[in-house]
């Protein structure tokens, strides 16, 4: 048992993989497929409760690896893991009705668990190779998931597109990693920094290799989190994939990209920050602006949400060029709130699909009559996404944008304030298309006024997301503190910034 004792810090991943292996077998045993989703919930809820007990209540500490290794458990990884499993819970709860007519449902849940396993590996990775492996586990599972309704053309197209783009971005990432290895001779992220510094001071040409690697990595990760101009795949995939999976991609998979981004850019290559900060800042502003502008003209709500999550990625990216602990905490806080409001919004769309209403903007007409519950939940998610208090999205955007304002005032550079201004203006712009959906739900008449009943498990999932969207605002204090501690623990070299 000594081997097991040494691996207790891997328990969450082991648990997820174990259930992922059992689930296809359960598929053969039970006629009622809802059992599968209940089984898939077991590890997710278990891990979520354990994480909450650790992060917020201090009931126990999560075991950490004794020796320096490829994976490292800390507050940062814990918080991201909480995001992933929470989104997983929402997604799994709303899946049974959505895929009730499909075959091989066991594999569906098992792929979800595997995708989440991959994400948790990324969150814990302390080594570029481990990071890459995590990205691949999550990526390959997601490709298969987005094509799960394989008889639907859109779904198959989405999977193919996602696969090709994902493969390309993996190649870029791996190439960048190999270049970094060539320059520094290590793959450990925190050891890279000082060695990279040598490369920059030696003037033997290796600095240009490192810069090339940085650009490749920016593109590779940029594809993962759908930064403009690497975003083209996202709307098609989100639209074509089964709606719960779109939620998983937007709310969790994208956040995995950010975990990788933060780690590599703010620990590994933070030394060359002055080289990349302007490029990343420009990408952030372009991403949020393009995402919001294009979202305005969408008539499919899923597609609109896809563009909105591109825009939200632009907001989160503000944390990188600002590069203070406070900014990273703001980014993590927004990642957490965004996970709930965005997955919730996708689940409302999924519920509408399950109730055979549809996912076009026109289908939202008069939803407040047909299903008051779905309408009020959607309204709350959208208002939170727009950053209207008293909802979580406001609190996290507030921390995020104020970090840019603060850093621009005291150490500078002064242009950082434009990130906050761009973010604020974009929030105003985004309100237009969010409010339009609310207008359709509450102020337009539906052609068919019949009431629809939301499946109970979906309702539970949406209710969970609604509760979190409100609670994360009311109890912002403990969350912000936790994010600050996590940022301090994982990025001790960054300035405090507050």
């Amino acid at each position: 048992m000594s081997v097991l004792n040494q691996m207790d810090w891997l328990l969450p991943q082991l648990l997820l993989v174990l259930f992922a292996l059992i689930l296809p077998a359960l598929d053969y045993l039970f006629k009622d497929k809802r059992v599968l989703s209940l089984a898939a919930l077991v590890p997710l809820v278990g891990i979520a409760l354990a994480l909450v007990g650790w992060l917020f209540m201090g009931l126990w500490t999560f075991p950490r690896s004794g020796v320096p290794s490829a994976l490292e458990v800390n507050l940062f990884s814990g918080l991201f893991m909480l995001v992933f499993v929470s989104v997983g819970i929402v997604v799994v709860l709303s899946s049974p009705e959505f895929i009730s007519k499909e075959r091989n449902q066991g594999e569906y849940y098992s792929l979800i668990l595997l995708a989440i396993t991959g994400m948790t590996v990324v969150a814990e990775a302390a080594d570029l190779i481990a990071l890459f492996v995590g990205l691949e586990i999550a990526g390959i599972s997601s490709f298969a998931l987005s094509g799960f309704k394989k008889r639907e053309k859109r779904s198959a197209e989405a999977a193919t597109k996602y696969f090709i783009v994902g493969g390309f971005s993996s190649a870029l990432t791996l190439f960048a990693i190999s270049l970094f290895y060539g320059v520094t001779g290590v793959t450990n992220i925190s050891m890279m920094g000082p060695l990279l510094n040598n490369a920059f001071t030696n003037l033997d040409g290796s600095d240009s290799v490192a810069l090339l690697a940085t650009v490749l990595l920016l593109a590779g990760f940029g594809f993962k989190i759908a930064l403009v101009p690497f975003h083209m795949w996202a709307p098609d995939v989100y639209e074509g994939a089964p709606t719960p999976i779109s939620g998983l991609l937007a709310a969790a998979s994208k956040k995995m990209g950010f975990a990788a981004f933060f780690k590599v850019f703010l620990i590994g290559i933070v030394i060359s920050k002055t080289d990349w900060e302007l490029a990343v800042a420009a990408l952030a502003i372009i991403t949020m602006t393009v995402g919001n502008l294009v979202a305005v003209s969408q008539t499919n709500v899923k597609r609109m949400l896809a563009y909105s999550s591109i825009a939200q990625a632009g907001y989160i990216l503000i944390a990188l060029p600002v590069g203070t602990q406070y900014a990273v905490a703001g980014g993590m806080f927004h990642i957490l709130t965004h996970a709930f409001m965005k997955s919730g919004a996708f689940m409302v769309v999924a519920a509408m699909g399950a109730c055979a209403i549809g996912e076009k903007l026109d289908d939202f007409k008069g939803l407040s009559r047909r299903s008051p519950f779905l309408a009020i939940s959607m309204a709350l998610f959208l208002l939170s996404l727009a950053g209207i208090p008293p909802l979580a999205g406001f609190a996290s955007k507030f921390v995020l944008f104020s970090s840019a304002v603060y850093t621009s005032i005291s150490p500078g550079p002064h242009w950082l304030v434009w990130l906050a201004i761009a973010g604020v203006l974009n929030s105003a712009l985004s309100l237009y298309y969010y409010a339009r959906v609310i207008k359709y739900m509450y102020m337009e008449k539906a052609p068919d006024e019949s009431r629809v009943k939301t499946p109970p498990m979906m309702m539970l999932g949406i209710l969970f997301a609604v509760a979190m969207t409100i609670l994360l605002f009311l109890f912002a204090d403990s969350v912000v503190n936790l994010c600050l501690d996590a940022a301090h623990g994982s990025f001790p070299t960054l300035p405090l910034g507050r």
């Binding site: 507030f398 105003a428 207008k439 204090d477």
Partner: protein, 505 residues
């Protein structure tokens, strides 16, 4: 009476609980109005008790929950990591507006007694609106202030969008986005002050205490952002265009609350936040404030003359009358600022009557287009009496509350800028003209034949009672303005001291 009782929080909580109770009524939705009336009346009575307990010249010895000039003060930390607290309190500036809010919300609910379209949502949203407005008037923490400020937008957006007139979609979204952009300007200004003050707290008092260190250029820029943000809400020319659209489409009670309370939030923000925290910025902006104020007074009045829609006329008259508020503030004098706050209170009472009467006309006649009306006094004598009283109050008849307020504004302007006074005074003449002309065309003269008047009934009880109460108050405070002015005056003295200290007089 309220030692150790968080009475302000209770007053804010009452409509919040009421709104949730109303939303959850289910199929008993037709009883929503009783529930809403009960909760808002309770809030109103409690706020009356608070104003009874309120001491005009407070000190730690004689008042409840005293703290630095505020009474009924509450302070709890909320988001410690970024310095956000739940701080509420009342002083002479906020008290009149606070009681006005509970009063108008209660009366608007009574006025909407016959609402049949989605009553649960309607009465629930009205109570949420009350929560937001009350919160704005008592918050002493910028973060909290902004939260309440934004909370107000959502119910109003729905009220216009769901219960509004034919062009409601356009009006609702225009209102929402226009005022949200203004809010964001305020948000950026708040963030800038927070970081410049370096006290790690969003408390208004603590940031104001640091404002000595704010450079003149910083104050000018931040005051500019706040002036824009609050000015849109006020509304001031040229950022007023959302208001006529919103008013024309909004249901009557929505218009009452919009004009009676939401516009006051803009003025309140200026006097509570912008002027005392950024005195140098305020000094530098005086010319801009004065010019915009006079432009609003004159422009609003002239446009009123051309209106055919009674309600649109009243809406534009609000722009004109809120210009007086801004004019009073622009003098930056003790008298002017007191008069500005008093004008906000007066306009809240008067404009509520006017919009309610527009609602009555619309309700009974099916139209409010002035050319289609005429001679209604013969058919609806009580309504005609109330409407005449309202119009006379609004045009500043002595003995009514508006006269006292406008007179003080003019007095303060004369002290400051002498005979320039004649420019805004033209506005009073215009006001008299459009009101009397409209009254003559709609209420008096031969009975109209453009609408069917055979079944025309006089005002209903649930409409008459609120209007009657308001007119009684208009007369009461018109004869005894000092009841309120003395309280505002004490609070303004504090701001005045700040201005003298830092602004060089």
């Amino acid at each position: 009476m309220f030692e150790n009782v968080p009475v302000i929080s209770i007053i804010i909580l009452l409509p919040l609980i009421g709104s949730f109770a109303t939303f959850l009524l289910g199929k008993y939705g037709k009883y929503a109005k009783y529930l809403a009336l009960a909760f808002t009346t309770a809030a109103f009575l409690l706020s009356l008790a608070v104003s009874y307990e309120f001491v005009t010249t407070p000190s730690p010895a004689n008042s409840t929950g005293y703290h630095n000039g505020y009474q009924f003060y509450e302070n709890h930390s909320w988001i410690k990591s970024i310095g956000v607290s739940y701080i509420v309190g009342l002083d002479g500036i906020s008290l009149p507006l606070f009681v006005l809010t509970t009063l108008l919300c209660m009366l608007s609910i009574l006025f909407s007694w016959d609402t049949e379209l989605r009553p649960k949502e309607y009465f629930g949203l009205m109570q949420i609106l009350e929560v937001g407005v009350l919160g704005v008037f008592v918050s002493l923490d910028y973060f909290l202030f902004y939260v309440f400020w934004e909370v107000v937008l959502i119910p109003m957006y729905f009220m216009i969008g769901v219960w509004g007139g034919p062009n409601k979609d356009y009006a609702a979204i225009k209102f929402f986005i226009y005022t949200h952009v203004a809010s964001l300007a305020i948000l950026v200004a708040i963030m800038a002050m927070y970081f410049e003050a370096q006290v790690g707290s969003f408390s208004m008092e603590r940031i104001a205490a640091e404002s000595v260190g704010f450079s003149r250029a910083f104050q000018f820029a931040v005051f500019g952002a706040m002036f824009f943000g609050f000015g849109v809400k006020l509304p001031m020319v040229p950022f007023h265009t959302w208001l006529p659209d919103a008013h024309v489409e909004a249901p009557t009670a929505g218009s009452v609350l919009l004009a009676g309370l939401l516009l006051k939030m803009g003025g309140y923000g200026l006097i509570r936040v912008a002027i005392p925290s950024l005195p140098l910025g305020a000094h530098d902006m005086v010319p801009a404030m004065a010019v915009i104020a006079i432009a609003s007074i004159l422009y609003g009045g002239i446009v009123c003359l051309a209106q055919k829609d009674l309600k649109k006329m009243v809406a534009y008259s609000s722009i004109s009358h809120m210009g007086f508020v801004l004019l009073g503030f622009a003098t930056l004098s003790q008298l002017g600022m007191t008069a500005g706050v008093f004008q906000m209170f007066a306009h809240g009472l008067v404009t509520a009557v006017l919009f309610m009467m527009c609602g009555v006309i619309q309700h009974k006649c099916g139209t409010r287009m002035i050319p289609s009306l005429g001679g209604l006094a013969k058919k609806m004598p009580i309504a005609a009496t109330l409407m005449t009283a309202g119009f006379l109050a609004s045009l500043g008849l002595p003995g009514m509350v508006s006269f006292a307020a406008e007179f003080l504004v003019f007095w303060s302007m004369f002290n400051q800028w002498g005979l320039w006074l004649f420019v805004p005074i033209i506005g009073v003449a215009i006001t008299a003209a459009y009101y009397l002309w409209a009254l003559q065309r709609s209420m008096f003269g031969p009975l109209t034949d453009k609408i069917d008047t055979s079944h025309l009934r006089d005002i209903s009880w649930y409409e008459g009672v609120p209007v009657g109460i308001l007119i009684a108050l208009i007369a009461l405070f018109g004869v005894f303005p000092s009841l309120i002015i003395s309280r505002i005056d004490t609070a303004v003295t504090v701001i005045q001291a700040v201005l003298h200290l830092f602004g060089g007089g």
